[in-house]
Symmetry: C3
Subunit: 244 residues, 3 copies
């Protein structure tokens, strides 16, 4: 049994944070809320999403798993008007999810969870440098870097968070001293990342008031932010090898 | 002689209701106003438009007929700024319509009315069920249904107006009880329609405060709504055969 | 040495007035400000731009020349948020222009000025008729004319500024009497121009409160307008031969 009501835009924002990387996912549903972990087809980026039960207007469930095509789910959620809620209800027998939007009732066929790629084990990493900034600042830097190159160095040097993008002709550097950051735990950090993935992530990141980046030397980047109070998104992005 | 002044946006809205189905039309002009009846090239949908003389700021005419390319007329009307009027004046001799928009004067070549497809005879149908609702609600339902299928069932069952769209994977149902409609005359009604045509019509329907649908059992759908106080649009859409 | 601070949007508007005609330009920098003259690849239109030192928040320079790819410069300026300033600083040694936008620092490689097409000598013309009008009015007329033809006649007849576009089917005429113009110096004037070029220019013209056109009989069109108080843009557009 799964029955829930949630603001359509909130759910859409949560789904978008995942659908930028993967199309089909397995949601784990329990009393605590809805969770998922997924890895992109190229094994470069992982995402975990936790929608706490408090994020819902109404939430009642027995523990279970459902497989969902995020493209179709997003399509349905886009039927809702601004501020409108959606009703979700699992039909156990037919394995379909009924999604109510106003007077509309959409019947979404679920995917057999066993047909969906296995959940990744997300490694525990103790990354030395932590940077907290506005999501919109990171999004702007990523969009700017794309005009110059297809990969970018992120790092921390002394009390400064930096980004470097070098193109064949022009180059771009971002320097934000700790005084202009929302938070900084300094540490040795410098790693190269693909801008394709950062751009995919930055659509969701850009909406977040506060984003925390965790960085090391040629180590993955961890990005964490919240949607509202009760939804947590975490990305883990593998580094690329920097060539001289 | 034909000379008239009308708000450009109002005229554009009226024309758009027709141009979504046909490109070239024959307007009948009389003291009462401007009228047309037309059928789409595939003979699936008919439209009638009545622009009452009261819809014009100024209106003076002798009875007559003019043939107009609606694509070009819409182009000209889009030159007007918000709230601006257009001046229309027929040059009898050259068979051209002078359209004044601000300081611009556009000379639109008319089409010989005899070269335009004959006006359809719109059948008098006494359809059992009548449903009145906000145009925006119908538009939203049509747009939602398009994500699922390319045809849709519209009907009335007891005191409920319903829409059903069945796709290969997902399905969608709309239920609006009479308490949430602007009006309902119950009656046995269930017919299948092409979403292509409904979508073409729904651009105009979506702007109307109030739309009335008339339905029967495997019978055409009649849709009626007003633009402002003095412009009436009516569609008649042939049903498709429902296959099991 | 060149160091300057300017509102990003102001600079972008000034650059756009030029980049609609040419891609690579040579800026002449002096204490008075920044200037350029350029001609389009087909030698049909010339543009001159003067950004007075007063247009800058900060301006300090020694005289010099720099070659700039306007497409890339526009790209960088688009990184700025509304109302934000950009910092410009020339690195003499590396021949690069550092462009600071917030925490971002873009390094723009300059072009060797000797590799850029020689500046045109802009002819001194004493054109008989002068017309001053709102930029948005001219832009609207140009956009309307494009729906009818690919060239247009501009002229002055008695106290009226007119535009004529003749298509194969329809035609368009603009008449603005002096009473509805911001200014008119009457004179014999009628010349034919390419709408392609006028359209390119009209994006910038459309933003100007006040635009002055200078016209003659089969003579070039001169267009002058200001961006803010201290930026001047002038176009000179060669006429085409009118065929009967």
């Amino acid at each position: 049994m799964f029955k829930a009501v949630i603001n359509a835009e909130t759910l859409r924002d949560a789904i978008e944070a995942v659908s930028s990387l993967v199309d089909e996912v397995k949601f784990s549903i329990s009393e605590k809320g809805v969770e998922l972990k997924a890895v992109d087809p190229a094994n470069v980026a992982m995402v975990s999403l936790k929608i706490g039960a408090e994020a819902f207007e109404f939430f009642k469930t027995t523990p279970g798993e459902i497989g969902v095509d995020l493209v179709r789910l997003t399509d349905v959620l886009s039927m809702a008007d601004k501020g409108e809620n959606v009703q979700l209800e699992l039909d156990e027998e037919s394995r379909k999810l009924k999604i109510g939007v106003g007077s509309l009732s959409y019947t979404l066929s679920l995917i057999d969870p066993s047909a969906i790629r296995k959940e990744p084990r997300i490694p525990e990493l103790d990354l030395p440098a932590h940077v907290t900034l506005h999501g919109s600042e990171l999004r702007r830097a990523v969009k700017a870097a794309e005009k110059v190159s297809d990969h970018v160095v992120l790092g921390v040097s002394d009390d400064v968070f930096f980004m470097e993008a070098k193109g064949e002709i022009d180059s771009l550097r971002l320097n934000i001293p700790s005084t202009e950051l929302l938070g900084l735990k300094p540490g040795e950090a410098r790693s190269l990342f693909s801008l394709d993935y950062l751009e995919d992530m930055s659509k969701s990141i850009g909406k977040a008031q506060e984003v925390t980046l965790e960085l090391g030397m040629d180590y993955p980047l961890r990005v964490g932010f919240k949607i509202g109070q009760a939804i947590e998104v975490n990305y883990l992005l593998a580094p690329r090898i920097e060539q001289e």
